[in-house]
Structure formats: C-alpha cells, structure tokens
Symmetry: C2
C-alpha cells in the first residue's frame, strides 16, 4: 500500500494508524503466497504485526475480512478488464473478447483471490447488497461493453448474462485444470479463442462505443 494519497481518507488513528488497509494488504499477500485456506484472522494479524483479535474488530469477523479483501480484489479485477479493453479498437466484438481476456488473465494471475471473490457466500452478499454499486463488481465494464449487442426492446441483462456466464464458466474450467496444466505460452488456455468464437454470433444493434 504505497499509495500515500489514500491515507488521509481514513482517520489517522493512534496505535498503528491505518490498520484496516494494512490488514487487507496482508490478506492479499497471504492469498497470493499461501492460498485461500491459509487466509485466517490470526495469520492476517500476525503478518500485519498486530494482535490476533485486531482484524476481528475492524471487519466484524472473518466473513467481513474476506468481504473486504474481495472488494479490493474486484478493483484489481475491474482494472484488468479495462486494461485489456484499452488495447483494442472500437469494434464491439473485439471489445467483448478483450474484457474476456482481462477476466481470464486476472483469474490465472490471482487464482486464490478469484476463488474468494466468487465464493457463493461472498459474492451473494455483494450482489444483493444495496450499498455495493455495480462498478464495485466490475459489472459496469461488462454492461458498457455489451450495449452494442442489446436488441431493441430487450433487457440488457440478457446479453450481459450470456457473456458473463460464458467467460466465468470458462475461467472455472481453466482453473479446474480441465485443459491441462497451466502453460506460460498460453495463459488463456489452449482453446480460448475458438470457445469465445461463440460470441461472434452476437448481433450488433447499436453503434459501438469508442470510450475507454
């Protein structure tokens, strides 16, 4: 957490000062280095150099800690999709496939974090919470990218769900090892392109967006 500009946003409290982001940072590091099953309140506390009960106070239990880490994960996740989309032209199909690539790059770069984020209980709480905006889930990126394919007088959620389902299911299969072990030469898996070709069937109904 070298972003000092964010520090003043939270009260610069006494003892440790900004323990909350430090704990999230510690949790992310544990996820990346040790895996999901090693993410515990006590290990998180130890890594941040505080007592074992400190994280429970800040996040109201282990579920709260996991939710907070997932929230941070979704920020990274969203940036992965935005970055990938920023590297392609205005063609709507190109843009959809780009966010799919970003999706899978994130999943393979942070498998344990990905698993945490899409744990049914964690994602359920975020999805059904009235205070968590779509942007906190990266869903706004999906929505924007899908608008060209929304047929007149249909709910945008249809196309969005088609795209999201396909890419999320693919990511699950990939992490599950269905396509063999991970290969650095093909981080997206050996059949990403032909599978995503199903999205070529989507029909463009509205002019493509050129925004970032």
């Amino acid at each position: 957490m070298s972003d000092l500009s964010r520090a003043p946003l939270t009260k610069p409290s006494h003892h440790h000062g900004n323990l909350r982001p430090a704990l999230i940072e510690a949790g992310l590091a544990i996820l990346i280095e040790d895996g999901l099953d090693k993410l515990t309140l006590r290990r998180c506390a130890a890594r941040a150099g505080v007592s074992h009960a400190a994280p429970a106070h800040h996040f109201d239990g282990v579920d709260g800690l996991r939710a907070a880490i997932a929230e941070e994960g979704f920020r990274i996740f969203r940036n992965y999709m935005l970055d990938a989309r920023g590297n392609v032209g205005p063609d709507p199909h190109e843009r959809v496939k780009a966010i799919c690539r970003g999706y899978i790059y994130f999943a393979t770069d942070f498998p344990a974090l990905f698993e945490l984020m899409f744990n049914i209980k964690v994602i359920y709480d975020m999805v059904t919470s009235p205070v968590v905006p779509d942007s906190a889930l990266g869903y706004d990126v999906l929505r924007d990218t899908c608008t060209p394919f929304v047929a007149p007088d249909t709910d945008p959620i249809l196309v969005e769900t088609q795209v999201w389902s396909l890419i999320h299911g693919y990511g699950t299969l990939l992490l599950a090892g269905r396509f063999g072990g991970s290969n650095p030469d093909a981080p997206l898996g050996p059949i990403f392109d032909p599978v995503m070709a199903l999205l070529d069937q989507l029909t463009v109904h509205q002019p493509g967006q050129t925004g970032a």
Copy 2:
C-alpha cells in the same frame, strides 16, 4: 442407506459394518440441512454415531471426505441431466437445453452440494485424476449431447466447453442471487430461456442422437 443389496459389495466388517456409505449419507444430509460450512469430520461422525476419528480413517482426512461426498453428488447431478434429457424429443437443440435445465435444477435443489462439487480444489482433483472417468463427472452426458454440433475436423471439446461454460456460469450467477431471490414458480431463474437462446446459434453438423 436402506439399499441392502449394496451391502454385500463391501466387506461386512465387524463393528459398524458399512460405515463408509453411512458417513457419506450423513455428510449429504448435513450439506442439505445445514450448509457447506457445517460439513465437518466431527459432525459427520456424530451424525453417523461414531467417534470423530472414524471418518478421518475412512477418507484419509477431511479433503477425502469432501471428495467422496462430491463423487456421490456427481452421480445425482448426472441423473438430473439424464432425466431432463429423457423428457424431450430428438432435436439436438432441445436436448442441449434439456441437460442445461437438469444442471440448474440440480444446482437449486442442492446448492451446498453444488458448491462443494465445484470447489476448485475438489473439482481439480477429480478432473486431473486419471482414475476418475468422465462419466463420474457427468461429462459423458455433455459429450453425447454435444456431438451433433461438432464441426468436421474440430475438437469436440470446443462445443462442449462452450455449452458447459455458459450453463455453469449461469448457475453461478443464479445461486449468487444476481437475478433476485429464488422463485418457486421459476426455479430456473427469470431469464433462463433467453440466455440459453445463445445455444440456438450452434449449427448441427451430424445427425441427432435418439438414444436416452
């Protein structure tokens, strides 16, 4: 486990006799009644009326217990798809959508079991194990149902992955509450049909199968 015909298959050992299937049964009941986080070696043992170390001995730890329960879950899962497919005609598109319905019916009937089965660690071990056949995962049903759509000179895994990804992603979203709370009138969710319409784009290349 009132199926006495299965008893002779395993050695009718002394103490409890057939404790292994009894423990799996207990685990399934716990999953259904209490949820995934309540599935522990000790609760499972208590429910089966044995000491807490008994399941650890039979399944070589909690991971083994979970794997065994998942395996049983996949049998039920496979039957759900077969049952759904048995209720439609020979049209290939009808058949694909039928197994998708079975897939989602299973997910909503047994959400905790579904979550266990598709836990990355559990499914990874099954998928990469050389001793677990595709039929134990229900994948054979998917393969058979997808064969009419396999284009000449292409790997069947492409179509299979497209279908599986779409339906699994949809199931995840549904359980995550993305489409609102569960509605007994629409157990498949409110947009199942229009989302699955993406599969109408698949082209039939081979004559449809009429087998069950």
